[in-house]
């Protein structure tokens, strides 16, 4: 190097303001949304009860969105996650209510079955080399059938109150414990993705399978673990789902799949733009529920939920693409 040039180690990357803006745009949008509703319906919206309800009610969606985030990062889709959620919730109800198993054993069983379903997904995807979209769609639909069969298409209620206590009744700072489970999971996943080798391998497998393989990563093992983790986390979401109401409904939970994907993709536009990230996903879920809660209070009908989920996703992702100069997205 000649004396005239600067030492590259000393060169600091220039802070780009558009990039910083992009990172925190969703957080800002959330604040604006809260401000707007606070001005519009101050008496109903700006109460602790509203916020506590919003935070507490979305824990199931948070955990489900975090579940599908793991295979998404590794470049695989898990469309079976919502069906795993319903199936395991029903499993808890059937074993606890109808078979009389202690609730603890029911939960352990549900989590074990969740992991097993992930292993089945992984086996078909990796052994037969079939796209994960196809296998998880098939396995999910199969599970839906099993759920209806197992429950005779009826809602089963009367799940042990111990579980309901631990999920919604007990509160910390006025917010149901369920919220803290989702928060804790998001923080753990953030740590794993950013600060462990396993997380880095997951990212490389998602972005470049061949690159990962030629850097000594056992790609199939990583993908299998991602699918097993996803189903296990979906089973945890199922247990929370059963604990929210003390009952299991064989149908309604499967409608959570698309909101979960919406939250994951929306989360990828914020905090770590261009990357699926747990904290961004958490933020997205609460951004979306804030919008829906506020609009409902303003007198909107139930369909506003779908309008807001769909509209916000398309608008936010498009804006984020504009900021990045419309480069092709590369989530893997």
């Amino acid at each position: 190097m000649t004396a005239g040039t600067t030492n590259p180690t000393a060169a600091k990357p220039r802070r780009s303001w558009t990039k910083e803006m992009e990172r925190f745009a969703l957080l800002g949008a959330w604040a604006v949304l809260i401000a707007v509703f606070a001005l519009a319906v101050p008496d109903t919206f700006l109460t602790w009860r509203t916020f506590s309800a919003m935070f507490g009610s979305q824990a199931v969606l948070v955990v489900l969105a975090l579940a599908i985030l793991v295979p998404l990062t590794a470049g695989d889709f898990d469309l079976s996650a919502a069906n795993v959620l319903v199936f395991t919730a029903m499993l808890v109800a059937v074993t606890n209510v109808q078979l009389g198993l202690p609730i603890g054993l029911s939960i352990v069983l549900a989590l074990g079955i969740g992991a097993l379903i992930g292993a089945i997904n992984a086996f078909f995807v990796l052994f037969f080399r079939i796209h994960s979209l196809i296998i998880t769609l098939g396995v999910g639909t199969f599970l839906q059938g099993l759920t209806l069969w197992m429950s005779q298409s009826r809602t089963i209620s009367g799940i042990s109150m111990e579980l309901v206590q631990l999920v919604v009744i007990q509160r910390l700072v006025g917010i149901p414990l369920a919220f803290y489970y989702g928060l804790a999971l998001a923080l753990i996943m953030w740590w794993v993705l950013e600060y462990t080798i396993a997380g880095r391998k997951l990212l490389f497998v998602g972005r470049g399978r061949e690159v990962a393989r030629l850097n000594g990563v056992k790609v199939d093992r990583v993908r299998a673990m991602a699918l097993v983790t996803s189903s296990t986390l979906a089973a945890i979401a199922g247990v929370l789902y059963a604990g929210m109401t003390g009952s299991a409904d064989p149908n309604s939970g499967s409608s959570l799949l698309l909101p979960a994907f919406a939250a994951a993709f929306l989360g990828a536009t914020t905090l770590y733009p261009g990357r699926f990230n747990p904290l961004g996903t958490l933020l997205s879920v609460y951004f979306l529920i804030t919008g829906i809660t506020g609009l409902t209070m303003l007198g909107a009908d139930a369909y506003v939920q779908s309008l807001f989920y769909g509209g916000a996703l398309v608008v936010a992702v498009s804006l984020s693409q504009l900021v990045r100069g419309r480069q092709p997205q590369s989530f893997g």
């Binding site: 590259p8 180690t9 990357p13 470049g208 061949e210 690159v211």
Partner: protein, 534 residues
């Protein structure tokens, strides 16, 4: 139509010239890659276009195809008409010039008929009549004595049959063109033969002669002098961006063509004298897989070994086989570790101290959408743990050290790797592997798409690594690079090593000659041998 008697060698105007490209100049940035090239093609002739890598022959073909736009002053005349530059890719095809590229542009999972129809844009107001198309394609194949089932999947065909499909498709395109109605046309083939056996090459040539008999002309770009001698009417030889000679094939010898390709200039570069490596470090026994049919070698500590040959000769598989990246057989000993190539996942090869820097930089080497830091430290992560997990500060420090050591520009560890130039990407990826201090570093075309300055820096880094005792194996068709770096060069032909060059023999010209198969007593036997066994 009469075939004109061939005029004496050299570029002269000729009544039968159907294509004249004159004074073609082409620049990529400041680098002039075509320096006033004039080339003519006659009616009903097969013209061979030869030259070493980087001589400009592909660039010239791309000018004709309309991909490259030449400098003002260049002139292209087709069927006597001067065409505006840059050429319009659609118009040139419409006028009767069809191209077959090396990778054939066929979709393996679709049938022959699907592949044939993809380039056919003629109007079918009543939709496709599949029965009629099938009969038409069979008839066209039969014209050249081919019996390929139009319903067969292209993926299930042999390599030569796939080449036939691509060539017949291009010929059908000629027939539909303006010139084709008069029975003429120009078919341009860009290196169609490297992946074919000798017997298959003969079949391919029979097809090309059949196409010439219909009144069309053919330009064939190739490396293989024997092929040119057996097929062409005239040979154009490119060297360093100029047309070095235009030869009449009949009056030309193999040696004459070879001398023209290589040129008389001798590389002035003198390798720094260093003590010859003596201590064996890596042993390779019976390595095979892909196009490589058997390779044995002993590599010493601190030695840089080059493997080379013509495209498709098998040398390019060696680095991937050694790292377990492509399946193969053979025994590899690194230091005291014994490895079986048949059971060698890349993770195990890495653990045994083998490293691979692949040729496909962004497809296999690094991830374009992740940062320089993430790419550069991926292998070093076990050393980046601190306290509760990975230390991002340590990762940034290590990356900044790599950036300084290899002069990566821009010196920004958080930039996406994909935003760096090819040379800087390569410096990052090389730095990543060098930091692992492997016993054996394998590289495939390490300076492809790398600018001159970065190339010298990569050479220096490899030289230093060898001086520390690392064994390095480079697979490359860049003879100058091999001459500059290597202690020894092994030349492959048809899957096996045929010659080893050492000491003063490691020179650009000698390597080129060995690849093309001259200076070898058994040279003329190679194709014949194969025929005996075939």
């Amino acid at each position: 139509m009469n075939v004109e008697p061939l005029s004496p060698p050299g570029v002269t105007t000729h009544d039968a010239d159907i294509l004249r490209m004159s004074h073609i100049r082409m620049k990529f940035g400041p680098v002039e890659v075509l320096k006033d090239v004039t080339l003519t093609l006659r009616r009903k002739e097969i013209l061979g276009l030869l030259g070493a890598n980087g001589s400009g022959k592909s660039t010239l073909i791309k000018v004709l195809a309309g991909f490259n736009s030449p400098e003002p002053g260049s002139v292209v005349r087709l069927w006597g008409e001067e065409l505006p530059l840059p050429l319009d890719a659609g118009r040139i095809r419409q006028m009767g010039v069809a191209f077959v590229h090396q990778h054939l542009a066929l979709v393996p999972s679709l049938s022959v008929i699907d592949n044939m129809l993809i380039s056919d844009t003629s109007l079918r107001p009543y939709g496709i009549n599949w029965g009629k198309e099938r009969r038409r394609i069979s008839a066209l194949m039969a014209e050249f004595g081919l019996t390929i089932d139009p319903d067969a999947m292209v993926g299930s065909l042999s390599p030569v049959e796939r080449a036939f499909v691509a060539i017949v498709r291009a010929f059908a395109e000629l027939r539909r063109s303006d010139a084709g109605r008069g029975g003429e046309g120009i078919l341009v083939l860009d290196e169609p033969t490297p992946f074919l056996s000798v017997a298959d090459v003969d079949k391919l040539f029979t097809l090309l002669r059949g196409i010439r008999a219909t009144g069309a002309s053919v330009i064939i770009v190739t490396h293989d002098i024997d092929e040119v001698l057996s097929l062409t009417n005239r040979v154009a030889v490119m060297r360093d961006g100029r047309l070095a000679a235009m030869l009449n094939t009949q009056d030309t010898s193999r040696q004459q063509i070879l001398d023209t390709i290589v040129g008389r200039a001798i590389s002035a570069y003198e390798r720094a004298a260093k003590t010859a490596p003596t201590q064996p470090n890596v042993t390779i026994k019976g390595l095979s897989g892909g196009r490589c049919k058997g390779f044995d070698a002993t590599l010493k500590k601190g030695e840089i070994l080059g493997v080379t040959g013509l495209i498709g000769s098998g040398f390019a598989d060696v680095p991937y086989l050694l790292f377990g990246a492509t399946p193969g057989q053979g025994q590899i000993t690194v230091g005291k570790t014994q490895l079986d190539a048949a059971h060698l996942p890349p993770a195990k090869a890495h653990g045994a101290g083998i490293a691979l820097l692949p040729g496909d930089r962004m497809g296999q080497g690094g991830v374009a959408t992740l940062s320089v830091t993430e790419n550069a430290t991926f292998l070093a992560l076990p050393r980046m743990r601190h306290g509760l997990g990975l230390s991002h500060a340590m990762m940034t420090r290590a990356t900044n050290a790599l950036i300084a050591a290899h002069d990566v520009r821009p010196a920004n560890s958080s930039a996406d790797l994909g935003n760096l130039s090819g040379g800087n990407q390569q410096k990052v990826l090389l730095g990543k592997w060098l930091a692992e201090e492997p016993q054996l570093l394998c590289l495939d075309e390490p300076t492809q798409g790398v600018d001159y300055g970065a190339r010298q820096q990569i050479f220096a880094a490899l030289d230093q690594a060898a001086a520390r005792g690392m064994t390095i194996l480079i697979a490359s068709t860049d003879h100058e690079q091999l001459a500059q770096l290597c202690d020894r060069v092994i030349v492959f032909r048809r899957g096996v090593p045929i010659q080893e060059l050492g000491g003063a023999e490691v020179a650009k010209e000698k390597i080129a000659r060995a690849c093309l198969g001259s200076d070898l007593p058994q040279n003329n036997d190679v194709p014949q041998d194969t025929e005996v066994f075939a």
